[in-house]
């Protein structure tokens, strides 16, 4: 198992390099650059200023050289400095990441708890009205895009009912308090979590239904075990193995989905930072974000595999 993890980590290195190369070159092909985004070209002196600034930022170098510099910095544990603010990219990310992790984490917890619970109930009560309504809700949840759901939630709970704040991570002007922060978190977390709830529910239901018909479940009943033990120990233990994989695969999409939700709810996380960086052609920040996403994708795959082997002895002992 340890060797396996080590091998996986080594394989990730070329993948990470490949991703950064591709994104670096694509980003350089975007129309305009950081300097043009900051300096108005209407004035006569503008041209010289632009040249000067490009020289300072290294934007006049050939693209491969720019990439080389970036990698050089990276090897020293430095992600460069934001073109817009001059802050180090690492500190920008460090300042923004907790808000995003909070949003993702709560959304994921909502999705797992609700999704697995509803999926199990749906499967155990197959073909009941409960099952049918959960199934309907599931399809709705899967088909409705996050941003639309986000806007509906804002409309209903902030505008119409006035129950919850519609944007920000806390009330402006007040000292930060956790309860205020959590109130702000509810709508974006549900907007991000509900679509995943629906997909977890569908997977859990299918998986439980499949496992329920296995011979070993019949064996468990034939031993005289009660339904609760049969369900938790014999059905769920097996049914959740594939669900764990689905959850693992979902993590990266949750990270991506957070970008849109953060924009809608002005949630000052890393997604909002990324969108601002793209608008400002702030390539060090863009690259920082991309590198982080790539690490998250690779890490979630690895975590999924580890979880899988914890749950399934057939893999653990290979």
């Amino acid at each position: 198992m340890f060797n396996y993890i080590l091998r996986r980590l080594l394989v990730s290195i070329p993948i990470l390099i490949g991703i950064t190369v591709i994104v670096f070159f694509i980003a350089s092909q975007m129309p305009g650059d950081a300097v043009l985004a900051m300096i108005s070209t209407d004035t006569p002196q503008a041209e010289d200023l632009v040249k000067l600034r490009r020289g300072q930022l290294g934007l006049d170098l050939p693209i491969y050289e720019q990439y080389g510099r970036w990698v050089g910095q990276l090897l020293h544990g430095n992600l460069g400095f934001s073109f817009q603010s001059g802050e180090s990219v690492i500190s920008v990310i460090a300042a923004r990441l907790p808000a995003t992790l909070e949003l993702m984490g709560v959304a994921l917890i909502i999705a797992i708890i609700l999704g697995v619970f509803l999926g199990v109930v749906s499967a155990l009560k197959q073909y009941s009205w409960l099952d049918y309504s959960f199934t309907f809700f599931g399809f709705a949840g899967i088909s409705i895009p996050d941003f639309f759901l986000g806007m509906v939630l804002v409309y209903v709970f902030s505008i119409e009912l006035g129950l919850l704040p519609s944007s920000g991570i806390s009330t402006a002007g007040n000292a930060f308090s956790l309860s205020d922060n959590l109130r702000h978190l509810i709508l974006p977390a549900f907007a991000l979590g509900l679509a995943r709830t629906a997909s977890f529910m569908r997977y859990t239901r299918a998986s439980v239904l499949e496992v329920m018909n296995n011979d070993y479940v019949r064996t468990a009943r034939a031993k005289g075990l009660g339904e609760r033990l049969v369900t938790t120990r014999h059905i769920l233990r097996n049914a959740l193995i594939p669900v764990v994989t689905v959850i693992g695969i979902t993590l990266p999409t949750l990270f991506g989905g957070a970008v849109i939700i953060e924009v809608i709810f002005q949630w000052a996380g890393i997604g909002l930072m990324f969108i601002n960086a793209v608008t400002g052609r702030d390539s060090p920040v863009i690259m920082g974000y991309v590198l982080l996403s790539a690490v998250i994708v690779l890490a979630s795959n690895l975590i999924t595999d580890i979880m899988y082997s914890v749950l399934d002895p057939r893999i653990r002992y290979d």
């Binding site: 064996t219 034939a222 031993k223 005289g224 075990l225 097996n238 002895p313 057939r314």
Partner: protein
């Protein structure tokens, strides 16, 4: 005369699927004394498993339902007691082993856990005592090094070993009745004989009654006192083994016997397959299910279901012509 250990009376089990009614078990009755062993034989789909699953009350609803009959076990009607009471009997007084040991054990739980969970439940032992009991059972079924293997997972055992584990698990609470639903079908031929011998030996040692389910009459004939033959959801004949071989009273039994190659004591002994298709269980069970395939069938057979009648001491059959079968069969044989 003491009452039998198990007495099944007029058992009826049906499945409801896609608007159709499947008559899986029709009016099945038989009884078994303590310590005795019997076989239920019949082709695939004849209702053997549904019969014993009904005795265990393990028919899932939907789609299935036990719709009639009584199952007296140790004097108590199992179909009349509560689910909680039934659960105390399952795995405890009546235990079951299944056809496929590959799929009948939970792949993600150690065999130790799978054994101790029912031992703890039924015998009220501590985990430590239950483990000791499990190890004892594993060595009883001839699993080498049980102390070392108890925490292994099913995939770490061979097919034959897994069936041994299943047997150890089933017998761990000292059941008075063991139901073995085709316990060797999924195993290698060499292992089959070992497993049969093992169960037989344990039966003598522990004194429980055993119901063997098989579609191979020859395989179980040597280990049981009596045989029940099922066809199309009906019990068509029940007899002591010797009587059944000596003089079968139902054409389907006759067909089964003729299908056994080179049977000692039967001169004709050639392999005869039974022509025709297995019956459709969706039809109303009010005529003889075997009539369409029966070379001795009369008009009467297609009009009414014969009752289960006694044709000789201890021998029951469901055939209008059971008494004359011997003669007409010989005639057909000669011509």
């Amino acid at each position: 005369m003491t009452s039998p250990l198990l007495n099944v009376q007029n058992l009826v089990t049906r499945f409801y699927s896609d608007g159709a009614v499947i008559h899986a078990v029709n009016d099945v009755s038989f009884s078994l004394n303590a310590g005795e062993s019997m076989a239920i034989v019949g082709e695939s789909g004849s209702g053997k498993s549904v019969t014993v699953m009904s005795i265990m009350r393990l028919i899932r609803h939907p789609p299935g339902r036990i719709e009639g009959g009584k199952v007296f076990f140790e004097g108590q009607d199992l179909l009349a007691i509560s689910e909680d009471e039934m659960r105390k009997i399952r795995g405890n007084r009546i235990a079951m082993i299944f056809q496929d040991p590959m799929t009948s054990l939970n792949p993600v739980l150690s065999i130790g856990l799978q054994m101790t969970e029912s031992i703890q439940l039924h015998l009220g032992l501590s985990l430590k005592e239950a483990r000791e009991k499990a190890i004892k059972m594993l060595s009883l079924v001839g699993l080498p090094k049980p102390q070392e293997r108890i925490d292994d997972f099913p995939f770490q055992f061979s097919g034959g070993q897994r069936q041994r584990v299943m047997i150890a698990m089933a017998l761990s609470c000292n059941p008075t009745l063991l139901i073995a639903d085709e316990p060797t079908t999924a195993l290698d031929v060499t292992v089959q004989a070992q497993i049969i011998e093992l169960i037989q030996g344990l039966q003598q040692k522990l004194g429980m009654a055993v119901i063997w389910i098989s579609h191979n009459l020859a395989m179980v004939a040597g280990v049981v006192n009596k045989v029940a033959v099922m066809y199309g959801g009906h019990l068509v004949e029940q007899a002591p083994v010797d009587a059944l071989y000596e003089q079968p009273r139902h054409p389907y039994t006759l067909g089964l016997l003729n299908a056994i190659p080179k049977l000692e004591g039967r001169a004709q002994g050639r392999l005869v397959a039974i022509d025709g298709m297995p019956p459709d269980l969706r039809r109303e069970p009010d005529t003889c299910p075997f009539a369409p395939r029966c070379i001795y069938a009369l008009d009467k057979c297609r009009e009414a279901l014969p009752p289960l009648t006694q044709s000789a001491p201890g021998q029951l059959s469901r055939c209008w012509r059971s008494d004359e079968l011997d003669q007409i069969a010989n005639k057909v044989e000669l011509s």
